[in-house]
């Protein structure tokens, strides 16, 4: 019997598979396709203190082995979440974490305080890496000073699990990772989307209303894997790997590189039940390779 459970500080996941924010709605969208209690956790859609309409259409462009999006944090705001969405999803038998974003430090702090009151939400994922909003978002994730401030202020008020989602759009991700650790983050999830762009040459126009957007899908996996490896070596807190994970092998690779858990993102759009298959596949891998628990996979890469 393989023990699939993993521990992110005080937060226990029944298995290392979570679903990434912005790719899994509030979980409800997937109930026809899978049993959410069979994965370690879900991170719900980016939530802000006030409602956001998001960016104009078109917000999506397909790329080779991936896609660009420029949704721009469309959501109905944290108060709507508390009143209308939380009651519907609080009984999911898995960890439901809320992804929190904002334009100012105060936005983050207020949203975190409100979500802290929700008994069944064991943690938040602080989103300092959304490339699709004009102010805030990624600005916090690429500036050491701004990152330090936002993590410190949220940490001061938020007592549950504080996961920080890092941006890959930086020169040295370990610098930001260490700052987040120093300011009290419990874990680091990476990577968010890579800033990209697509053009329709025939009409000489960008394919996204915002011109640039966030690249996701299998095409970003090698970059994500490298950043997880670098970050794992630089910090002591758990690292959660994200970036193009589409099957069990991808998930295992991230764990070997140092991830304690992983998030399945864009692949949910194509194979809506894939996260459950990945969780099952990890058991199989552990058996075949003589691991008694999924925990042992973390950082077990062999470099000769």
């Amino acid at each position: 019997m393989v023990d699939l459970s993993v521990q992110l500080k005080a937060l226990r996941l029944k298995n290392p598979v979570m679903t990434a924010s912005g790719t899994f709605g509030y979980g409800e969208e997937y109930l026809d396709f899978m049993d959410v209690s069979r994965i370690g956790g879900i991170i719900v859609k980016g939530t802000t203190i006030r409602p956001r309409e998001g960016n104009d259409y078109p917000r999506m462009a397909e790329t080779a082995s991936g896609m660009l999006n420029a949704v721009g944090l469309q959501n109905k705001g944290v108060h709507y979440f508390v009143k209308h969405i939380y009651p519907r999803i609080c009984d999911f038998n898995t960890n439901v974490l809320v992804n929190v974003s904002g334009s100012t430090v105060d936005d983050y702090v207020q949203a975190a305080e409100i979500i802290q009151e929700l008994d069944k939400i064991p943690g938040i994922e602080l989103n300092v890496s959304c490339p699709n909003v004009k102010e805030g978002g990624m600005a916090f994730g690429v500036s050491p000073r701004a990152l330090s401030l936002v993590v410190k202020e949220v940490r001061a008020v938020y007592k549950k699990h504080l996961m920080l989602k890092l941006s890959p759009n930086v020169t040295d991700i370990t610098e930001l990772a260490k700052i987040a650790e120093d300011q009290g983050a419990d874990s680091l999830s990476l990577i968010n989307t890579l800033l990209g762009m697509a053009i329709d040459a025939e009409n000489r126009r960008p394919k996204l209303s915002t011109v640039t957007g966030g690249l996701s899908g299998p095409c970003i996996k090698p970059v994500a894997l490298r950043m997880v490896w670098q970050t794992y070596k630089a910090v002591k807190i758990p690292v959660i790997g994200i970036g193009g994970i589409s099957n069990t092998a991808d998930a295992i690779e991230f764990m070997l590189a140092g991830a304690s858990a992983i998030q399945v993102g864009t692949a949910n759009f194509i194979d809506p039940g894939v996260s459950v298959s990945i969780a099952e596949g990890i058991t199989d891998y552990c058996r075949r390779h003589g691991f008694k628990s999924a925990k042992e996979l973390t950082g077990s890469l062999i470099i000769d």
Partner: protein, 263 residues
């Protein structure tokens, strides 16, 4: 009408195919029970072995035969994904998520004393969901009028099938079939005062039809084809600005009453 059918991921086999220069009519069969599908709903088709095609392709259902677990898709070869799909050999396995989206709103069954005039307007590949809709209208006792438009005669597909359900009028931009011009310029529109219009086609055409419907004070539903990633409300990419703000075309549509839209 919203569907109460659970969404499923099902494998199909390509059973029959009729292929033209720019499109293909494909009949798929599954060994599972085909869920109930309503006209206007769509499927998300996985395109295998096509490196440029990462996402599924949303396609509206052209026709169904639930007894035999068959469904038809009318595929226009637009990009690498649809070309790959249309080029599949018979017996190829194709994976689909279905049924997705909200269907067209059907009128109450027709009464002998009062027969509503219903007009279905389709442009190019936009005629695809209208055939399925005509069958449902026919079952409710209606004989709709069809107005089909395309660039040339080659774009006017399944005309014989449409004729089984009602009278068909055609426009082509090059005049190779029916009246020359755009669908919204057809002479029948001057004569007829429909009670209901259903429309699917390129956005500029649907916007022109929506204006026409407003001018005639006619009830009108259109089916949008915004770009989407998931098809079931998770990615928030396919939004349309409506009276309710940005809503997902895949879950709140693809069929919208024109009163919901800001056109």
């Amino acid at each position: 009408m919203s569907s109460i059918t659970n969404k499923q991921v099902l494998d199909f086999i390509l059973y029959e195919k009729e292929e033209w220069a720019n499109s293909a009519l494909m009949k798929f069969k599954t060994t599972e029970v085909l869920p109930e599908i309503f006209p206007g709903q769509f499927v998300q088709v996985k395109i295998e072995n096509s490196p440029d095609t990462y996402l599924r392709r949303p396609l509206s259902v052209n026709f169904t035969d639930r007894e035999n677990s068959c469904l038809w898709l009318l595929v226009q070869k637009i990009g690498p994904g649809t070309r790959k799909l249309a080029g599949l050999a018979l017996n190829s396995k194709v994976n689909m998520i279905l049924p997705l989206g909200k269907s067209f709103t059907l009128p109450e069954p027709a009464k002998d004393s009062f027969q509503q005039q219903i007009m279905l307007i389709g442009g190019g590949i936009g005629t695809a969901p209208l055939l399925f809709l005509s069958k449902s209208l026919h079952e409710r006792g209606y004989s709709p009028v069809f107005l089909l438009g395309g660039r040339s005669a080659a774009d006017i597909l399944q005309i014989d099938q449409f004729r089984l359900y009602g009278k068909v009028y055609v426009t082509t931009q090059d005049g190779s079939m029916g009246e020359r011009g755009l669908v919204t310029e057809h002479s029948i529109l001057k004569e007829m005062q429909p009670d209901r219009m259903y429309c699917c086609g390129p956005k500029p055409m649907m916007q022109a039809v929506a204006s026409l419907a407003r001018a005639k004070n006619c009830w009108c539903e259109v089916s949008l084809e915004n770009l989407m990633a998931c098809g079931f409300g998770a990615c928030l990419c396919c939004v349309e600005k409506t009276t309710q703000g940005h809503v997902c075309t895949c879950t709140e549509g693809p069929v919208f009453n024109i009163n919901q839209l800001l056109w």
